[in-house]
Symmetry: D2
């Protein structure tokens, strides 16, 4: 029994693995607070007389839209995660989390290595220096995967011989292991910083192997803090930022009869990569599916006197 805020949908997920990659997982193991704590924290700031919005969903959306991010720091979540070392190395760059990772100075290595799914074994992208292009065809993919597993077996055999036959110090023997080895950690973070992490790591430019972990954590957030998550989707994930020059290009489209985004961008002074980016944003905007939008009926400040007295 607890007097603390409890979220039923989150409780159902506690202790259950969300699988990620071939041997990885994210297990939600604890959480603190709920959407309601975002609201309570904001009301501490605004005071009873000063809060700008009356209903909880509207307030949460207002906060996120206007970058009042501190109330989202009032929720905390803790995951047990297992991931390849090269993923852990990207992940740890987010410095606002608390982490306890297994240490190969003390512990035996896990006997798991990452081997990509054939569908994701892709060549280097030609136009994107950090990304992947087309997947390899069957035979080439098979050779690549064999090279992965062969290397992993050889490296692990080397480790075992160093540790077991020579008794080499663990902290030194582990140097022969590849970054495809799985590691695991307890990772704890507040909701604001988690959403910041997810904004970057759910992005199409993030490496596929970390994106699947971001998606696993997003599943939990959606269940745990659904109003915050919805706002995050609308104002961050599916939003677009237009630069000063792009706003100018948009003006040319709205008022000067430019129909082609590329021409408008060119007239607004955009060139090369930025011109392409503007065209993508417009294309994404034009293809936006109105059916996919959630119903909006929020933020009707002061219009329903009946709710006024019930903060």
């Amino acid at each position: 029994m607890t007097k603390r805020t409890t979220v039923e949908a989150a409780e159902l997920m506690l202790g259950h693995e969300i699988k990620a990659l071939d041997h990885g997982f994210v297990i939600p193991i604890d959480y603190m607070g709920s959407d309601n704590d975002v609201v309570q924290a904001a009301r501490t700031s605004f005071g009873p007389s000063g809060r700008p919005i009356h209903d909880d969903r509207g307030l949460i959306r207002y906060l996120l839209r206007h970058r009042h991010t501190t109330p989202f720091e009032m929720l905390e979540v803790k995951f047990l995660c297992r991931m390849p070392i090269f993923v852990a190395r990207q992940w740890i760059r987010h410095r606002t989390a608390n982490v306890n990772e297994m240490s190969l100075r003390y512990a035996e290595p896990l006997e798991f290595f990452y081997v990509p799914d054939p569908a994701t074994v892709s060549v280097q992208s030609k136009d994107n220096k950090q990304g992947r292009g087309e997947p390899l065809t069957g035979e080439a993919a098979a050779i690549v995967l064999d090279m992965f597993t062969d290397g992993q077996h050889e490296d692990m055999a080397r480790y075992r011989r160093l540790a077991d036959e020579f008794g080499l110090a663990k902290e030194l023997a582990r140097a022969v292991l590849p970054v495809s080895l799985y590691t695991q950690w307890v990772w704890k973070i507040d909701l604001h910083n988690l959403m910041h992490f997810l904004g970057l790591r759910l992005d199409a430019h993030a490496q596929y192997e970390i994106r699947v972990f971001a998606e696993a954590m997003a599943q939990f957030v959606r269940a745990w803090a659904p109003l915050s998550w919805e706002a995050f989707e609308d104002y961050r994930l599916h939003a677009a930022s237009l630069s000063r020059q792009e706003l100018h290009a948009l003006r040319l489209m709205l008022r000067r009869g430019y129909v082609d985004p590329a021409s408008a961008a060119l007239a607004a002074g955009l060139r090369a990569r930025e011109l392409d980016e503007f065209c993508s944003k417009v294309a994404k905007c034009l293809s936006s599916d109105p059916e996919g939008l959630p119903p909006l009926s929020l933020d009707i400040e002061g219009e329903s006197p009946g709710t006024r007295g019930t903060p």
Copy 2:
């Protein structure tokens, strides 16, 4: 003499007061790095073969546009600042800076209090719960200012009597002083976090009294790291973020013949405050002055083979 990166325009400002409010100031006292250090840090990440952009200005703009913010953390600046306590209390909420503030446990209080300029003595805003409306007229403003100075004199007289006549411990006597008293501190921050601070505190919704300090610091950044500042203006300060629903409304304007933003917003499901915000963004976009835009000729990746070999 130093081997460190030196920025002449920044050197000229070192040690010179930038005034803010009646008795406040910002004095740049030290800096580390320049635009070039942003570039060098990014090139450490990308490696010589991997950098996506060839010229420095283009690279800096690329980084800021795509939220690769860590290279901007490589520059550091230190200011000596004097501001009213109520401004210091907003300012200190930015936790990523290093601060040494004068302490009234040890030091005598400064003999300066903030008295607003008559032009800024305004009533509470009716439609914005956190802001100011119209300025007060002459006589009312005069009474208000008298009330400020009277209170300050009385509070300070009380402090002096407590400290001098009764010998009361400073840490206790200072409790009678008002938050309009000036304090001062040394404040050091990296460029990324400073730009984040400025993005929030240069905003029209920030309180006027902290905005003038933000503007003072912005003056220094403009001189010290002009390419970063330009990118920050284009992609943050003068940019607009459109939510998922706003992108839908924009689509209705671009493709479905809606001319009135309010109608488009309504059709896209936006209501009340969000509807108004969309209309403001469109209005701001339509009034954007193309003459004010800096010339853009960047990012011409791969087009000038002559520069390719000179990273």
Copy 3:
């Protein structure tokens, strides 16, 4: 119902005010984790085969003693606190917490001001530039307290007239209020950083008015994470650090027949303030009350062969 770790003694305190000063309080409103989560986090690092200590209490003590502080970051606690502004200004210097404070841009000020208890109305210390000396005698104390309350009434009357009669913007009117005014906030922090805060703010050199808030929070920690708290008391609060020179002075006492700490310190090269500090440490050590020590029966690693094979 929750699957999360629940600590009964902590539950009993949730939602209950711990009073501090005349109108202040600390209310524990949420927590995450328990002593057991420190242990689990550490075992994640050490792995099943690698953990250095077998029982939980011994492991927690080992971690704290050897500055393995990250497992203590895995617990989180949230308080609602009300304190005078001058206390809030010291408190907020700890940057590792999450905070939402009431804002006088939006909210009406609380109608509470700090008036010290007569027993704590003391003169400035002569030998300690930041502290208090003797309390004032009856009449002087009475005058001082009257000056506090008079000033508070006048400042608040001024605020009310500015806000109500002139309609001055709240964010401006509040500038006339003194730093003895109470404010309140939600404050959330992890256990490691809370203990760091408490180590500094429970210290005899901390201002009395913040120490009472530190003591209020310490009460909660003692109930919530008793093993961590005990270790913190033994290895931080009631521990002493000896410098290189002090270790030399101690050697002279232990081996060279010096009985007087001052002579040993002098012979070891300590002077003035450092000499006094050494003498205080020795005096504190000599007066340490062995009866006050908790029974110690921990850390018996390797003594019971029966447990050796069962890590």
Copy 4:
């Protein structure tokens, strides 16, 4: 030319490699501030009338001794470092630095791997679960080193074939590389957090391979901020912390005639590991070499009126 604080001894080291391990290095590339900035920051806090100590060295020592750590945050330093990945993974756990690491999503891997010096190829420690015991003898060491280099060549050959023959995306191909591969980064940190890092990583319990990098950075700090460094050595590196129970044991030695530390510890309730630790501290204390101590003539507050007027 610069108006900024310049430290000649630091300038001499800028741009010069300090070697670490077989292919690693630390290159100081920029710094901000000097010992004098610690003093200036502290004086901002204390105010001209309130500073507790008159000479700079004494003030710096006072600050460090009493954990007034914020003035040490006012200095900043930037290093370019090259280290094996497994060292980078320990290093990055210190979250208070700014980092830009080369990314194998974009860049070609360096062609350097760590191969330990034969003298450091040691077996797992028996009594210390995280450390090393005796070095291996000649032939065994030679086999071990061959296994290191063989694995490295094979893994790199695998990488090259994946990247060059199959054109596999770099971000995927790098998964076959071992954690003995060198990486490099720009790393920037303030002096307080650097000293905290060094306190942990110069410790005898830190892994040898990161300790050499800590020592390289310590070399720079010693030249750059000699007074801060000296204080850090005296009050942190060569200091000892005694727990509540250890203070009791010490009392038994000083006043009750206990000569043997183990007996005193036992009588004070210390057992097993803690008993051993107490004995080590006493032994270290007794063997402290007074000749090694720097001359102390500081902190003579108020005794030399001639320096009083020159804060």
